[in-house]
């Protein structure tokens, strides 16, 4: 090791040095974690595509051209450079629909998790921090929620209220909070008896203040991992609901809906279902890899 560098390390204040070393280690671990890097890159690319959709989509995703129905993608002999991924049964450009579809999936994932993380974390932290009767009540609510068949209840409610993006987001948000509650409850129980919480209590901090400034930052790592898991689950569920015709409604280019619309052509034009399905797979895979990566890096001991 370089001698001057060594000396400078000793001169630095110990806690500062310790922290910068930790941060460096975490960053290095992240970069060495192949799954995290791959997932992160794919996810960033999809987010970028979704944000830039109006500028990079070659065509209007809603424009129909009945003369150009079911043009195959480029890798087929009859491929056409004007439509790199071909067209669907109504002659709409498949690449453009795919690009705009990324917006719907990401929007569903983010908004659903926003709702469900608030509900679930609130319940979980309440149960974990107060224990006793509050814990019993929350555990009961979680059991009730788990006993309800998600897809069925979501389908029925969306059908009765009327399918739209907002309805799907609300329904999924109010159904998918269970894992947040379970994980937050467990990690709050762990943190609750820590010395710094006792110190804050002794110093006379209010409960709300302790929950927000002391507890929340310490359960955040767990929270982030659950966020990725639930985002993936919400995206898959929206796709399933839309596939069953009781989610996002046409002509919106939801990937699940694209598979559903392509189903009748799938025997002779299989790409109409393989392309949107592969997009869904890639997005969910990327989100899961990022989540797994964060878990491995922040809490290697919980790796299974």
């Amino acid at each position: 090791m370089d001698h001057t560098q060594h000396a400078s390390m000793i001169d630095a204040a110990p806690w500062q040095d310790d922290q910068s070393w930790n941060r460096g280690l975490a960053a290095r671990r992240m970069l060495r974690h192949g799954g995290f890097v791959f997932g992160g890159c794919v996810l960033l690319a999809i987010v970028g595509i979704a944000l830039l959709a109006p500028w990079i989509a070659p065509h209007d995703p809603y424009a129909q051209d009945l003369d150009k129905r079911l043009i195959p993608p480029l890798w087929h002999l009859q491929g056409d450079w004007k439509h790199p991924l071909g067209t669907d049964g109504l002659g709409r450009d498949y690449l453009s629909r795919l690009i705009y579809g990324a917006r719907i999936s990401l929007l569903i994932g983010v908004s659903t998790v926003l709702i469900s993380s608030i509900i679930g974390s609130f319940l979980g932290i309440l149960a974990g921090y107060f224990g006793g009767r509050v814990d019993l009540a929350v555990s009961f609510i979680i059991m009730v929620r788990l006993a309800m068949p998600v897809i069925l209840v979501a389908l029925a409610v969306v059908a009765l209220v009327g399918g739209s993006l907002q309805v799907v987001i609300l329904v999924l948000g109010f159904l998918l909070w269970d894992r947040f509650a379970v994980v937050m409850r467990a990690s709050t129980q762990l943190v609750r008896s820590a010395d710094y919480i006792k110190a804050a209590q002794a110093a006379g901090a209010s409960t709300v203040r302790i929950l927000i400034t002391e507890l929340l930052p310490n359960v955040l790592g767990q929270l982030v991992v659950v966020v990725t898991l639930e985002m993936a689950r919400a995206i898959l569920l929206e796709a399933a609901l839309s596939f069953l015709g009781l989610g996002v409604q046409p002509p919106l280019p939801s990937w699940g809906l694209m598979v559903s619309e392509g189903k009748e052509f799938m025997l002779f034009s299989p790409w109409v279902i393989t392309i949107p399905g592969a997009a869904l797979f890639l997005l969910v895979l990327a989100i899961n890899l990022v989540g797994d990566g964060i878990r491995d890096i922040t809490a290697p001991e919980t790796r299974t």
Binding site: G35, F140, M143, V144, L146, A147, M148, P149, V150, I151, L152, V153, L155, A156, V157, A159, L160, V161, G162, A232, L236, A239, A240, F243, L244, G245, L246, G256, V259, K263, M266, L267, P270, I273, T274, G277, L280, F281, L282, V284, L285, N288, L289, D292, T304
Partner: protein, 305 residues
């Protein structure tokens, strides 16, 4: 053991009741059930007629109590579409779904447990990494899409299996795979984690030290102890699969409860939807109860809490 059992059974009954209340209210409050039943072309008078006929004009609490007390006696009402007892319709269909769920669970267990054991025997080997990769890939695949891909490859191109319907067991092979693969990663991961724990324990070291053959150590002493949590996970997964059958049965046009649920939702046949939601929740509650009791029986420490 007895007080523990009693407590768990009481809790299960309470959960089932609460679920029935919540799902009843959810379905009644999400829209106007009378308008949905009457159909799109119905006039205001028609809707009023339907509302009176099905008693939808009374307070919700009264409606719920009547529905629940009938359901307790095994009367789930009459389907608005089939004009038949819901109970009879369900009795016709439930076996297909249970068979499908059972086959799916078999698939998940037969693939998941050996992979988990193989991964745990040599952690960080290529087997381990391959198993983890399969798990990560499996969890990212939309089940309806996987079902369609199976149809294209094994149904249409190779012609190995029939692509729709539920007349024979061969009809259920592809749906069972499409339904079961999603549970495989969870079962594999839990088996792996359990095996890693057990294989590091003292009694395994003793078994090895006294010269038992490796496969006897792994399977007779190791797996038998690692499998307990997997059994309870599997029973819970079975409950989830019955819920997931809505999607898979629709993809493969299998005339089970899931497909019936989807059709009934589309035709606003509320009594049938209500009954299926109730049935699936009760099956799930029973499964978790069973796995809790099994765990309590196998591990006395759990009973104390």
């Amino acid at each position: 053991m007895f007080p523990y059992m009693l407590r768990r059974i009481g809790l299960a009954v309470a959960v089932a009741f609460t679920v029935s209340i919540v799902s009843f209210m959810l379905l009644r409050l999400s829209g106007d059930p009378a308008a949905a039943l009457a159909g799109e072309s119905a006039s205001a008078q028609d809707i009023e007629f339907v509302r009176k006929k099905y008693g939808l004009d009374r307070p919700l609490v009264v409606q719920y109590l009547e529905w629940a007390s009938r359901a307790l006696r095994g009367d789930l009402g009459e389907s608005a579409f089939f004009k038949k007892e819901v109970r009879e319709i369900l009795a016709d269909r439930v076996w297909v779904t249970l068979t499908l769920g059972g086959m799916a669970l078999c698939f998940a267990v037969v693939v998941g447990i050996p992979l988990g054991v193989a991964a745990a025997i040599r952690p960080n080997s290529w087997v381990d990494r391959a198993a983890l990769t399969i798990a990560v890939f499996g969890q990212a695949m939309p089940s309806f899409w996987f079902g369609l891909v199976l149809i294209i490859i094994f149904g249409v191109a190779l012609r190995w299996f029939p692509i729709s319907g539920s007349d024979t067991l061969a009809h259920l092979v592809m749906p069972a795979v499409a339904l079961g693969y999603y549970a495989t990663p969870a079962i594999m991961r839990l088996t792996r984690a359990g095996m890693l724990d057990v294989l590091a324990s003292d009694y395994i070291r003793t078994a090895r030290a006294k010269g038992l053959r490796p496969h006897s150590v792994i399977f007779k002493h190791g797996l038998r102890n690692a499998i307990i949590p997997v059994v309870s996970l599997a029973s819970v997964q079975f409950g989830f699969m019955l819920g997931g059958s809505v999607v898979i049965e629709t993809v493969f046009a299998i005339h089970g409860v899931g497909f019936l649920a989807w059709e009934s939702i589309r035709r606003s046949d509320l009594p049938v939807v209500q009954a299926i939601v109730l049935m699936l929740s009760i099956i799930y509650v029973l499964l978790t109860l069973l796995s809790d009791l099994l765990n309590g029986f196998l591990d006395p420490r759990i009973r104390v809490h």
